[in-house]
Subunit: 566 residues, 2 copies
């Protein structure tokens, strides 16, 4: 008896299974905000839907205290004025436990089918979610649409298909029959029941609330768990819309919608989160945020499986290049994209102090640094175009960090405020690029400076650059490592460094792919092999411990005859 939503989406699931096996390019969700795909009025409708949410109480039919919370402010310069129903954690935990009982019993096909139906509906809301992501994270619209919409949906589907790939291997039952020589065989019927952990807690971040929040949410759902979604207080809306859609789908499919609930909070909700994270009912936690908070969860929430993505120091090693301008253009884009507020954005750029080889002969360290500086400056020279790349700074902490960083060394590129042509109050800053020296500045560059802050670092040699890159990644965490070299031996050495550092390597990116980008179904985001994350998006380990199997066995009649002896 196949669940109808499973049948409806089975083709997508099959294609996704093939995609995670071959890891080539694949996506069922169109990344371009094209009227042909999403509908002629989709953009206007989505923007209108977003605007209609402003200065209202967000409607969500779930247990509430009757009060409201919420204080989101758009990084583009205006308060959203949205109030969310306040929920009591105890009430949500009880509601989740109640809802989980029948959800658990529905089984793997229903979990996959409902998850995929939620995703299909979320996809149709991509513009509304895109504008919501834009005005909570500060991403420019195109990025907010893509990263907050289809790319996040890809990562969600990836989590669902990994879950399904594991669940489908567990047979519902088995006939076990052990020969006993001349005696009749021992025969048993065995039943295997997939038992979800219970209730999961998803702790969202303020820069990629959906992209980083969906994998845990959908991995939990697809393995039969209930989920409490606790967004970052600064970026509630994209997840609130998602929760509303999830609840609609659950309700329509005949389930208790409290399988998914929203715990919206006011800023400074740390104590509330810590209390909730240690509750015995919480069996799964997915967290994206600071190393401090993530490590606290890993070390204290012993009752739960804890999946974290934390801070890291992403690095670029420049050894040699055919075309330094192409290198510089690509790196500058990576530094500027969403003002470096990506967990994958590069920070440390290592260049040998004696310069590098290029097709046109040796280029001095200063010349390489200047090429990078020029490329950054060129990219942000036109404010109207620049803001579509930079977006806005998510919060004042990042602005303060730029101020603090600018005293660390020689400034190669100064960070500037830009006026946004459409949003007068937008908090826009261009990248700050500093020059440091590996010999004396390691205390400065061995920590994350989250935001549009990067360091061009002089090293003794490429060998030292790679040594540093591997060591920093292993000790302080990293999500990306990038190398530029025309020397195969250096590229192999970079592979070795990436393995030592447990960090994904990009090689000679000079075209339309940037180190910040991570493609679902093909690129593992994070490795779980260094302190930046204890899990990867997504793999078997990300899903296989979100459920357990409980079996039974009972004697039945054997099918085979005793073995004739003698």
């Amino acid at each position: 008896m196949t669940h109808p939503l499973f049948s409806k989406h089975e083709d997508t699931l099959q294609k996704a299974l093939a995609a995670i096996e071959t890891r080539g390019y694949w996506s069922p969700f169109a990344e371009m905000p094209s009227p042909k795909v999403y509908g002629e009025t989709a953009n206007a409708d989505g923007e209108a839907a977003f605007k209609a949410l402003l200065n209202q109480t967000f409607e969500l039919d779930q247990p509430t205290t009757g009060e409201t919370v919420g204080a989101e402010v758009s990084p583009f310069g205006f308060p959203l004025g949205i109030r969310y129903p306040k929920a009591d954690p105890d009430t949500l935990l009880a509601a989740a436990a109640t809802a989980q009982a029948s959800w658990r019993a529905a089984g793997p096909q229903a979990w996959a089918g409902v998850s995929l139906e939620i995703l299909a509906r979320v996809n149709r809301a991509s513009f509304e979610i895109g504008y919501s992501a834009m005005h909570t994270t500060g991403q420019a619209f195109m990025m907010a649409f893509q990263a907050g919409g289809p790319h996040a949906q890809d990562r969600a589907l990836e989590a669902v298909v990994y879950a399904w790939d594991q669940l489908r291997r567990i047979p519902a039952d088995a006939h076990w029959e052990k020969p006993q020589g001349k005696n009749p065989p021992l025969a048993m019927h065995k039943r295997y029941t997939v038992v979800p952990r219970g209730t999961g807690l998803v702790l969202g971040c303020c820069t990629f609330p959906t992209w980083n929040g969906y994998p845990g949410l959908f991995a939990d759902l697809a393995t039969g768990n209930a989920v409490i979604v606790k967004p970052h207080p600064g970026a509630i809306l994209p997840l609130a819309i998602t929760v509303r859609i999830a609840r609609d789908v659950l309700r329509e499919a005949g389930f208790d919608p409290n399988v998914v609930t929203l715990l919206a909070t006011n800023p400074n909700d740390g104590a509330l989160v810590q209390d909730l994270a240690l509750r015995p009912e919480i069996k799964l936690i997915d967290f994206t945020g600071s190393t401090q908070n993530g490590t606290w969860l890993e070390r204290h929430a012993h009752q739960a499986q804890v999946y974290t993505e934390k801070a890291g120091v992403n690095q670029i090693v420049i050894d040699s290049a055919a075309d330094i301008k192409a290198v510089a253009r690509n790196i500058a884009f990576s530094l500027a994209l969403y003002s470096g507020q990506m967990c994958t954005a590069p920070q440390n750029i290592y260049i040998p102090r004696d310069g590098i080889r290029t097709a046109d002969g040796t280029l001095s360290f200063d010349a390489v640094a200047q090429a990078l500086a020029d490329a950054v400056q060129k990219l942000v020279a036109d404010p109207a175009r620049a803001v579509e790349l930079l977006g806005a700074i998510q919060n004042d902490g990042v602005v303060q960090r730029i101020e603090e960083a600018r005293t660390l060394g020689h400034v190669l590129v100064e960070s500037q405020s830009l006026e946004h042509p459409a949003f007068a109050g937008a908090r826009v800053r261009t990248p700050l690029v500093l020059q440091l020296d590996a010999a004396i500045d390691s205390a400065k560059f061995t920590k994350e400076w989250f935001g549009p802050i990067s360091f061009v670092i002089a090293t003794d040699s490429t060998a030292q650059s790679l040594e540093l890159a591997g060591k920093l990644a292993a000790e302080h965490g990293a999500l990306t490592l990038s190398v530029y070299s025309i020397d195969e031996a250096v590229i192999e050495a970079a592979h070795e460094a990436s393995i030592r550092g447990g960090v994904a390597l990009s090689i000679n990116l000079t075209g339309g792919v940037f180190v910040n980008q991570s493609a679902a179904f093909s690129d593992f985001h994070g490795t779980g092999a260094n302190p930046a994350a204890n899990a990867a998006l997504a793999d078997a380990a990300f899903v296989a411990n979100r459920f357990r199997v409980v079996q039974s066995r009972v004697h039945v009649e054997p099918k085979a005859a005793p073995v004739a002896v003698g």
Copy 2:
């Protein structure tokens, strides 16, 4: 370029893959100590090999301080007198790290092939290991042979095949090509390198050193890790022989044998183990033992993935029965087998105080209790036969526990010392069975009384029995739950209780299968869903986080042409 040992054992691996998919009966290792399978002189040779090890220094070509350790005493009444090379943990950690580098680079096929070759050789040593297991654990020979030999080898192979099943899904490389409309596609070549965690630590127990130790050891090896095997000081020999074989195979296959090393210790090695378990080099820990030690590891060894099997309270619910004598015979066997020193042995037997339904009408509580008592007494009435079932008590702690338990309530069956006909000094005790009442004695029966100690507990009803069973399993842990009923509704209720308790259920066992038994490739041993274990033997979750994947990506020429537009 397939590794020759992978080719050699590929057929076994394919059969094992099929087995974990269908979970029917399968085993490549003959469980009967038959001369036809193992060779006419295998038993005598194995016993001679064991005896030749006594009162000698165990030869093991690995880093040592030059000193020796070891104080094993056979539960059958004589000191083994075996001294093992003492190893310094720092030296072993360094040797493991060195050895791991080339082992890592060998890749998944080599890891699987070498693991399977080790197992094939271990299988040939089953008699030697069987006698070693007998004289360290106290198991009677047949059980020591089976559980210490082929059944342990089955569990090891199961871990290898689960590892391989996950590893084979990760492609070595991929071609990723993303259409760009009228522009040329973006094309990249991606490389995926499986990166093992590093060094694992296997902490053995004194009752099933190989059966419980092999899964972690072989899961680590099959995912490319180095392993330090730290046996329980009371049961070093079976693992020492295993390590020696593993090192031989590694050396012959061209690897540094320090991929597997032995850390033999004297009794009371707790401080040494705690120090080692927190070392940053230790990335994986597999532990079988007390709840106290297991929980300590889970809460302190944050640098490692920790897999534990701890204490639990196994339970039997008797609701009704067609043939109470068959029920009693089966239960009595489970209580007597290896003197209840199995993590799967039942302890709490719940019977309604108003009696049970049988084919011959209602049987009073006292009559059921008496039937159980009679069956136990009958089973141990003949000492010469009894000792082949009971084996010997592993350590004096168990004897003292019997003394302590005997004061807890009305004694239904008294525990007795038996003379072993072959071993004058053997520490043999028959099962102690007490009568308790659920209404007043819960403090007594909600903890594990490891050893030949069981409680027949009067409850208000089967509903209360099942309520207790689910609750105890969930709160205090359990590896087994057994129900006897002729009522389908009760059996379904038992399923629900087993799911609430996260514990495997056996139904109406009255024949040749006993609740203590757990068959590799078919029965999950432990669920990871209650406090008795945080993992199951074996499943995807047991292996998927013992390695990570590190990728690289580089642009290549696209294969497809741009899409014609217009």
